[in-house]
Symmetry: C2
Subunit: 349 residues, 2 copies
Amino acid sequence: MNRAFLEFLSRHLLPLANPQFRKDPIVDRWVIVSTDRAQRPFSSHGDTAPAAKTDCPFCEGNERATPTEAFALRDRQSSPNQSGWQVRVVPNKFPALAALGDANLHNEGTYDSIDGVGAHEVIVECPQHEKSLARLSHQQVSKVVTTYRERLLALKEDRRLAYGMLFKNVGEAAGASIEHCHAQLIGLPMVPVMVRDELAGAAKFLDRHQRCIFCDLLSRELAAKHRIVCTTERFIAVTPFASRFSFETWVLPRTHQSHFEDLEPADIDEFASILKAVLMKLDAGLGRPAYNYFIHTAPLNVPPQESYHWHLEILPCFSRVAGFEWGTGCYINPVPPEQAAAFLRGTEI
Amino acid sequence: MNRAFLEFLSRHLLPLANPQFRKDPIVDRWVIVSTDRAQRPFSSHGDTAPAAKTDCPFCEGNERATPTEAFALRDRQSSPNQSGWQVRVVPNKFPALAALGDANLHNEGTYDSIDGVGAHEVIVECPQHEKSLARLSHQQVSKVVTTYRERLLALKEDRRLAYGMLFKNVGEAAGASIEHCHAQLIGLPMVPVMVRDELAGAAKFLDRHQRCIFCDLLSRELAAKHRIVCTTERFIAVTPFASRFSFETWVLPRTHQSHFEDLEPADIDEFASILKAVLMKLDAGLGRPAYNYFIHTAPLNVPPQESYHWHLEILPCFSRVAGFEWGTGCYINPVPPEQAAAFLRGTEI
């Protein structure tokens, strides 16, 4: 982290009363302006990374270092905000959005903004100081996935929110500021552009071909086989035809389903096992790379969609996004996805 | 750079005969799959960065380390591929696209691809081993801008190409693999999605309001003043209302103009001076941060557009893009653009 920038943040930045969503007037792109985010620890890797449970705010026993828990899977005899939990959900200490208030729209000439309200939670995925989801037991990963589902269901109760984005940053190169294994959930008052574009593309395909484009692609991939990383009875892990990044991998249910939170409890175990398998293959074959993953699912407040199909996208970080990508929106990928899939298929775990 | 990934690239990656454009079947997103890019030096910063002209392929005297020059501003008495130049343009040694061939479309079920043909040039911006454009003389920056314009004009002659993306990566965090001051130009057979979205948004605004949205925003910004970084008679540098990144800054001509390459030679000097001023302010105020910049201009083969207005976008890199941004397309910016502009206005150069 650039020292002069940190100095700007600590000496010059004036906190805004509330975060704001601002809309780019030319393209349909929202930005969250949130000075609270500037306060979070920017350099907890390297020298200053908590090496063990004593300093880590997410380790069992340090519950007082976080805001009050919103949810936990914990031993029956244990109490909230005490030890005895397996997965624990707390509000983000440095939230991008304000938890309270209404998402009022403001207009100033050509400029639109919305009050920056929404949810921002941290899902602590294990009590011990472990960095990698892939190294948790299968049973523990099932608990993590169960928690993802529970928290998305909880967001549905908040009528201000249109979308829940569940995401995970692993490693400094992927933007993680704390190394203890965790995911985040941000609830937004609008459907974000990446999902909206997918929904629109999928709706157009349904309109033309009377079927879900994801189901269509899955059956092609299963027939062709060369981009399949691994499968279970009900899930598939595949490197997409137009992968943006080396070893980009998507996990999808074989049976059509638009909402992740509609996952049957019986399927959670199986989803956990394929997710763990893919992450283990990435760790084993590629030296525990930094990566992001996120779940693309249908908006919170819509009924099941015939056109849309939820999936989890894993984006490993091997190189930097640079000017060409920012300027064009076109990515340069040095590893053909067919070769990525073959390598991961052959990587033993 | 991850060691296991480098090992994959050197031991397992099979080169493709030709690069390919692949289109995501769900959203309108092209990807370039190019194994040649995997061969470029990934770690020329830090230990292995050429400290001086002896090892740097871009330094004067080392012309044999690059492919044959495509263009140069050089002393009259000097010869191509010899010393005596001020700005030198060479094909990229590790091109993302193939220079020869036609951009044929291929289709395989739901999957579309195009042969990865196009231009990929490196513009070496000074003969001496200098990293920062901001530290070049005003006269030298004018020569750099003149060269940008010349190379975009040259791309217009190639009827296969629809778009020319001029971009620059400065610093390792911004994806630069060589530190000697340079920019790149990639000629594409299609208009990339980021530009297409801007063209569409601007066309919609023209349709509704009978004026260019950029001209409209400029007059608002000049009246409000608080997002202006600096101005000259014919150019403005502004931090956009919906800045994605801390200290994001755009430079635009005050007078409507859709194509960068239509810049009058008389205006080049002035554009060079505002560009240099903004970069000097970033360097002085924020400790020479890594950044990307690129020019958004109208497509190569269209007449002047009433709706579109070229501009240069500078995106400093202070933090990593993470899972939330990848999943949503929504950026979290900790520095309100009004505060960024005030800080840069107050930064003396």
